[in-house]
Subunit: 714 residues, 2 copies
């Protein structure tokens, strides 16, 4: 009997190992729940002897399933469902469940949770308490994270609740399955076969997002098609909403301003036209009939060719408020993007969003939030924080980060965005004196706003690994974690991610985190050091193009941004130039008014300085620029060596993919360095500093390179 | 100790079941090697006690790995590698390996194999013998198929060798990752990250193809970009060739005729210009340096806007022979497509390929093969065989089937193509008297050609399940099996596929095969019964469009094909019409010259007949047409019921996907039926026969439907 049992189990083990699908291919993200070593496994099992829950909602079923999956994977055992609290139980409870809880849930809101190790009838128990099942869901993922990362499960006393209300992904996904600035394959939304076919990936998407606290998703590209508001597409969105609902994730839609004209033949899209308002109201009613908890609309208007209220001589506020009135009876909101610049406005592009929106402060309806990119240009490797943050005290402002790395190496460069997020969130606007950080602007605490939000442009596609590379998954992860808790450090988040994604073994976590933490600065160094920006090649933004000067609109050309000439380099945004610095609060504006007081990392963003300008290090600007390019290249070489040494600890497929991508990154970092140095040298006329290698080719070579099939550009 | 072992195994089992990746998601295709029941498992294990092989080539390693994977999955055990033949061994040998084999390998060629149960030194052994390692590879897959399908492994005496030399997939994959007529996501070729990143999917692609005997793949769309011949893209193709080589699969490229002009500024692409010929020779040399066993070129020229030799007043033969000379020193070939029709030719489109190519018979170089679609129009649900088959005795002709279902329901209709392949291959051309089947034309036996080929336009994409649906995998499978052995029946192939893909349990195989076998006829019925053709909607070919009459070229319009009017319907291709029937051999031409002797399934392809024309059944044409539309809809309803009853036997994900797609198919079959009946009734003016339901909407409704985001149309 025992022999037969052994034989059967051996067979099952062998069978389970044989099919193709079982490799570590990245699909499981940070929710791998790989078998823990014996010590950890026993520790986890001893804190999960039973699972005590109440209720049969889809959310509770999801929580139980996730805990079973997690504990099952980590320990090889199962957790028995139990009605009563026993020693070592995980006890999940809300006040509504009737029990008087030994943990207060005040202040946790509808999404937060507390986890505490308590004694109940003399038995040690882990209590997870929250005001709602969504709170329990987030708490369950927190507990599983502790288990996955090898943290102690003893003597827990955790309270966590998000400071920011809307934590959203923005999908720039088109209805034809392409993804604008997507580097991970087609859209994960199978629009064509929705609402009929609802594959399991949608549920895994919801699990992944819920595990990091994301609570909403804008399904379609901000460059929207009117079709997304037709009945068939509303039904498709509703099918997704049904899947996401148990995970506390709402769906939102981007809308095209002229939809009433395109879909129903209205003569105008003037927001003050009653027929237009009535159309949107009826459309909102139609959507809410299909999706009762629909989140609301995201709007890109009067930007980059998109139509908008200004076409009718109305303001952004007129437009936003009309839409807001349509969704307000249903509890919906409008997210109105501040990313605008006009082809007929000769002013510094960096100033235009502020110029357009600052005068509208206080004129938006209460269910409107203005969505502002982290910087004033466009998701560059580094930008100073956007001057609108802190400048519109009467208006809720929402952060827009770009998780997909349009400008930071796309799918193959390892450039962890955690430090970028951290840098922006901690930037001090001085709007109400020192300590007025961007984080406090967007969490509403600075001005007492209750409608608060943060969005990340998703890096998710149909590629098996979701994000185009294993390390790109870290950016999705970091966005969610830091949106939930803006006080988290990029380092702490990277540690959790590395432990969950690869192994909690410090021989893995330490070097992986070390690679990640310097990687964004390395990209800044080999692409756009010292405040350079937007010198990428045309359209696809793949690779360097500092020489580009032939595009129709001035602000599309790299030369517009760096203004390199024989005298020097950089964009004068002081009073002698565009005076964009005046858009910042006085202490910042003053600091930025002179090169000497401007942080050197932002120097060329704000100043045109001579090639021989002396930096604090004593180096000339030219020498320092070359040095930064070299540093970036060197860092990538260092990452390659670090990764190669990790081979014994990483599964074969993920090891090989990352190794291959680091090879691409090394080649491309050198290409960036060589091309940019060659180009800027043609302006500076200066020799390379000693020890810096000559570029591999002449400028003509780099200028002639062309990449007609670069991805993400539609 | 035993307890610990048990605990460890239980843990491993549980762990192996927990991660996301382990569901049956279709990725494993027909190579699932799912655990067999005890009886089968023991039978398999008893015939695989040891694996005796010689040699350490990559091909031998692939064979060993596949047998390990297969036997491991099916039985839970492993096969030990052994140097000597023991009882129950699998013994793989080629004559070159030195041993005098007890099985003759004469006549097996370089790809065939023999499998025989023999006794060696008194021990029962299964000998797999072949002239080459590729033969052993195919034989190993044959043996594994027997094991997977529950066939007996005793007393084997099998000999198999392909009659057709080139058995290729044609990928209509574009360099930007889209796939023309692809319904399974993006291209599986990650051109952007090749040649650096070579993911495991490429190997699985090679395994799947090798398992069904496919030995070549044309990587890029016949609507080719010149860029595919640049150095970077040659390097990418070479990386794929390196992966496929051990599996006996060569790579080929589609070429754009004007590549010498586009890439290197030549002033002409005239095939008789020495500079043009020199350019292609140098390009071929460059390719062969990177890919020594490169297969050759596929060309679409002077067709649908593609450039070609006729632009220079040269013939297709002039063009093909110039390219052939470039690849000949390297052993390469040229596949020249006969799919041509000219915008300035008012003749029946169905006649034009024959008219262009028949006069060129005997004028092609010996390493040129002309690739002819199965029918004279374009991959319709049913077409009579192409009149070129049998009409060019001095020229090798290659079959082009379309595996991707551009006109047969795309990704969501279950329409098994095996019966279509079988019908075409067995069609009798009468070129050299009765029995001159299409199969004999393309296998070279009819005219003694040694260069022989068959191609299928792939239905493969980056979707997890490869082909857009589980059942679409059967079309890939059937193409390969029937290309290897044109005498196989669609039914036998379906049985193997169903057993391998789902389960050899007859409670599964019987109903699944029953569904499949009638499904293509059902599609003919609900789309284009009685010889109708090409009445699909414009461009994407999704759904019905018999009313379309506004396209620029006459032969793009459905009304061109059905010619329905008050008097009747159908295309007169007899002497009173286009006389296309004269392109067939006299016995066929005579049969087709009158409606009464024309097979009714092809009636409207060849004749314009009155609505009241009496069919053999006694029904009028109109009543019969409606009846066929009803039959098609009814068949889909029947498939749904059959599938629903299979729920206990099919894993959840694949069951749900198929159930969902059958729901789509049922809705769309009814749409096809209703729209076509409504339209044709507007011409016939006749009432529906008794018992036939009125269409759901009026004609205006169907005409107004539009699908701007239908997939596969680029």
């Amino acid at each position: 009997m025992l022999v037969r049992l052994l034989g059967w189990m051996a067979a099952l083990v062998a069978a389970s190992l044989s099919p193709l699908a079982q490799a570590e291919d990245g699909y499981d993200l940070w929710l791998r729940y790989a078998r823990a070593d014996d010590t950890r496994s026993q520790a986890i099992a001893s804190h999960a002897t039973a699972l005590v829950t109440t209720g049969n909602s889809a959310t509770m079923a999801a929580i139980r399933a996730e805990l079973q999956r997690g504990v099952g994977g980590l320990t090889g055992g199962t957790i028995a469902d139990s009605q009563s609290v026993q020693a070592g139980a995980l006890w999940l409870a809300t006040p509504e469940a009737g029990a008087v809880l030994p943990v207060k849930t005040d202040g946790l809101g509808q999404e937060g949770y507390a986890i505490r190790s308590i004694t109940r009838d003399g038995k040690p128990v882990t209590l997870l308490a929250a005001n709602s099942e969504f709170g329990l869901l987030h708490g369950a993922y927190h507990w599983l994270r502790l288990a996955q990362t090898g943290a102690s499960l003893d003597a827990l006393d955790i309270r966590s609740a998000p400071r920011i209300g809307l934590r959203l992904l923005n999908h720039w996904d088109n209805l034809d399955g392409t993804v604008e600035r997507g580097y991970a394959g087609q859209s994960i939304w199978d629009w064509w076969r929705l609402p009929d076919w609802k594959g399991p990936r949608y549920t895994d998407y919801a699990r992944a997002n819920a595990s990091i606290g994301i609570n909403g998703t804008v399904l379609n590209n901000v460059n929207a098609k009117a079709d997304s508001l037709t009945a068939p597409y509303i039904a498709k969105a509703a099918a997704l909403a049904d899947i996401f609902r148990p995970y506390g994730i709402k769906v939102y839609l981007s809308v095209k301003w002229t939809a009433p004209m395109e879909l129903d033949g209205l003569k105008t899209a003037d927001p003050l036209d009653p027929q237009v308002a009535a159309w949107w109201k009826a459309k909102a009613d139609e959507i809410y009939r299909a999706i009762p908890d629909f989140g609301g609309f995201l709007v890109k208007a009067n930007s980059e060719g998109q139509p908008g209220p200004q076409d009718y001589k109305r303001t952004h506020a007129d437009g936003a408020n009309m839409l807001a009135a349509a969704v307000k009876p249903h509890g919906g909101i409008v997210m109105w993007r501040a990313f605008v610049y006009a082809h007929d406005n000769p002013d510094d592009r960096a100033k235009q969003a502020y110029s357009d929106f600052k005068p509208l402060d206080g004129r938006f309806a209460e269910n409107v939030i203005v969505q502002v990119k982290n910087g004033a240009i466009d998701f560059q490797p580094r930008e100073p924080f956007h001057p609108l943050f802190g400048a519109m005290p009467k208006t809720p402002l929402m952060m827009e980060f770009q998780i997909t790395k349009e400008y930071l190496g796309q799918s193959t460069h390892l450039t962890y965005l955690g430090p970028l997020f951290e840098e922006v969130l901690r930037a001090d606007t001085f709007a109400k004196g020192k300590g007025s950080t961007v984080a406090k602007v967007i969490d509403g605490s600075l001005e007492g706003h209750r409608l608060t939000g943060i969005a990340g442009v998703a890096n998710i596609g149909a590629d098996r690994d979701w994000s185009g590379s294993i390390f790109n998954q870290a950016d999705w992860y970091a966005f969610g974690r830091m949106a939930w808790d803006t006080s988290l450090t990029a380092d702490a988040v990277a540690r959790d991610w590395a432990a969950m994604t690869f192994s909690p073994d410090p021989r893995v976590v330490q070097p992986v985190v070390a690679m990640m933490m310097g990687s964004r600065e390395a990209a800044v160094d080999y692409m756009t050091p010292l405040g350079l920006a937007h010198i990428m090649a045309t359209g696809h933004h793949y690779g360097p193009g500092p020489w580009v000067s032939n595009l129709a609109r001035p602000e599309w050309n790299p030369v517009y941004y760096h203004k390199a000439d024989a005298r020097g380099v950089g964009f004068d945004r002081t009073r002698t130039g565009s005076n964009a610095v005046a858009q910042y609060a006085p202490p910042i504006a003053k600091m930025l008014s002179k090169p000497e007081t401007t942080p050197e990392r932002d120097l060329l963003w704000f100043h045109h300085v001579p090639w021989t300008y002396k930096l604090k290090s004593g180096d000339t600007l030219w020498d320092a620029m070359v040095h930064h390019y070299d540093l970036g290249v060197d860092y990538v070489a260092q990452m390659r060596a670090t990764w190669d040494a990790l081979r014994p600890y990483i599964d074969a497929e993920r090891f090989a993919e990352t190794q291959s991508f680091l090879g691409i990154q090394a080649r491309e970092a050198k290409w960036w360095r060589d091309a940019c140095i060659t180009y800027f040298q043609s302006k500076s006329g200066l020799p390379l500093p000693p020890g810096s290698a000559a570029p591999a080719h002449d400028l003509g070579y780099y200028e002639a390179l062309s990449f007609p099939y670069a991805p993400g550009h539609h």
